[in-house]
């Protein structure tokens, strides 16, 4: 039974909130129970950003993660320091190894190192590092159909930005490839 509790974290501008919203939207489209809870506060502008996403077969009682995350996606070092302890034993951590040189010390979680910014850079657009990570996440967790996530992005981009869909698809696929090498 699916009961995925994900923390996504990074700095403002990395597209963290969007990543969370795409997973939530995709989950909703697959008729799962979902919630998206952002951090909000004076620290948002230029500071850290994080959100909790729940995707479940059962109605979501509490939308807040409290040391019971099944997965943490950390896009920068302060996020890794802060949120790796929130993952339950046996959970998964996805580290953006382009910006984080350190490794996760915990031995009771499975860690994947995805060089999101390097892959995005190779594709020629730094803004799609978040989609690289989402591709890796879906490959590892299989909590949702990859196409649902891409469709959620497509509707988010809308008509005016539809031309960006191609490079986002590439980023998503490259992320999945990078994850596969570590599985």
């Amino acid at each position: 039974m699916l009961n995925e509790r994900i923390i996504l974290a990074g700095f403002g501008g990395q597209g963290i909130m969007l990543m969370g919203q795409l997973l939530t939207q995709a989950g909703m489209n697959e008729e799962k129970e979902v919630s998206w809870l952002p951090s909000y506060g004076p620290e948002m502008r230029g500071g850290t950003a994080n959100c909790d996403v729940m995707i479940s077969d059962k109605p979501i009682a509490s939308p807040i993660i409290s040391a019971d995350a099944t997965c943490a996606i950390v896009m920068n070092l302060p996020s890794m320091v802060k949120f790796v302890p929130e993952v339950e034993p046996g959970g998964v951590v996805l580290v953006n190894s382009s910006l984080i040189e350190e490794t996760v010390e915990r031995t009771d979680v499975k860690v994947y190192y995805i060089p999101c910014n390097d892959i995005a850079n190779d594709l020629g657009n730094m803004k799609i590092a978040n989609m690289v990570m989402l591709g890796a996440y879906i490959e590892i967790r299989r909590s949702l159909d990859p196409e649902s996530v891409l469709q959620a992005l497509e509707s988010k981009l809308g008509m005016t930005k539809a031309s960006l869909m191609d490079i986002n698809r590439q980023a998503f696929a490259k992320g999945a490839e990078a994850a596969k090498l570590q599985m």
Partner: protein, 353 residues
């Protein structure tokens, strides 16, 4: 209609518009600013008015004026902003006008924090303004329920000619959940023959006022208001019971803390500990009878709040001294975890205080 993913604050705006609200007067404050923002984008396109007032006091008085015309009108704010509106709310209740007021509560007192809290319970249920008045207060437990209750609130406000409050919190305002805008059953409402819409020289002018210089008259007015509030007590109480049969302890919580408590109830059940939950959906009128009539099996009551303990007084009234009442909560914008609730339940069941 199919489901859409919406932020709580925006969902309230969409629900209000679905209920026929075309007028919004407010002043921005975190964590509810997405609601006025949403209204500012939508209302001008449907022939309505969005106006950002110079202050909360001005905004509530604009609501007073608009409500006097019989049109559906709304305002929203968060804790210190709602505190500023209290004078106007008392006037609107005194003048018997319908409106919907949203409070997405944040930590207090004073300017406090911008994080979620439930520490405006007393302000909402006891009346923060002067005089013997009451608001019908809905405390939704999730965004879908919030959408449904906002639409109901406009009907109830019209029916009772009284302000209705939606009591949420910063978390419910900021989070996203799927919502569905259902076709709501329409209440049969009386014509608004009291509205000040111009006489056309065909009738006597209507007067909207909360000033009664003759004490005898004001007393009669107050007696009339009380019959209305009694009707709300008789007809409007809403609550949810969860896992109650055979529960050895019952948690009482509303809104966000009810969600957290529900998670705790499920986790405890998996450990073989049977705990029930009563979730008031109206916090005024409060479901006293449900507290009074707990199952025999329940030996203790636990209140969970994001405050230092305010609703606990209503639980005491309903309990009538039957069972020990315990409290656990966080305040200032801190959110209790299911684990905090679980630990407290175990402490109580093991004989702790």
């Amino acid at each position: 209609m199919s489901k859409v993913l919406m932020k709580g604050n925006e969902a309230i705006g969409a629900a209000a518009i679905a209920a026929g609200c075309k007028y919004f007067f407010g002043y921005p404050i975190t964590p509810q600013s997405e609601l006025p923002e949403y209204m500012s984008a939508r209302l001008p396109k449907i022939g309505g008015v969005y106006l950002q007032a110079e202050s909360e006091v001005a905004a509530i008085n604009m609501v007073y004026g608009a409500a006097g015309t019989g049109k559906r009108v709304m305002t929203s704010s968060s804790s210190p902003g709602i505190a500023l509106k209290q004078e106007g709310i008392s006037y609107i209740a005194g003048a018997e006008l319908p409106c919907v007021i949203v409070n997405m509560v944040r930590g207090g007192p004073g300017l406090g924090s911008i994080q979620p809290a439930q520490s405006d319970y007393n302000q909402a249920t006891r009346g923060g303004g002067d005089g013997d008045y009451k608001l019908l207060v809905y405390a939704p437990g999730n965004i879908q329920e919030m959408v449904d209750l906002v639409q109901l609130a406009f009907d109830k406000a019209d029916y009772y000619r009284n302000p209705v409050m939606i009591l949420g919190d910063g978390m419910m305002g900021q989070m996203m959940e799927p919502v569905e805008f259902k076709e709501m059953p329409k209440m049969d409402l009386p014509a608004k023959d009291w509205a000040t819409t111009g006489t056309q020289e065909k009738r006597k002018p209507n007067v909207i006022n909360s000033l009664y210089l003759a004490a005898e008259e004001l007393e009669q007015h107050n007696i009339h208001l009380q019959t209305k509030y009694q009707e709300m007590i008789d007809k409007e109480i809403m609550f949810e019971e969860y896992n109650m049969e055979g529960a050895e302890l019952v948690i009482v919580a509303y809104g966000t803390t009810a969600r957290i408590s529900k998670a705790a109830v499920d986790l405890l059940q998996a450990q073989g500990i049977h705990v029930g939950l009563i979730r008031p959906i109206t916090v005024w009128p409060f479901p006293y009878q449900a507290i009074k009539d707990l199952p025999e099996s329940a030996k203790n009551i636990l209140c969970v709040e994001m405050s230092m303990g305010q609703m606990i007084d209503d639980v005491r009234i309903g309990n009538e001294g039957q069972r020990p009442i315990h409290f656990v909560g966080r305040s200032g914008g801190m959110i209790p975890t299911p684990q905090l609730v679980i630990d407290k339940v175990k402490e109580i069941l093991n004989g702790g205080k």
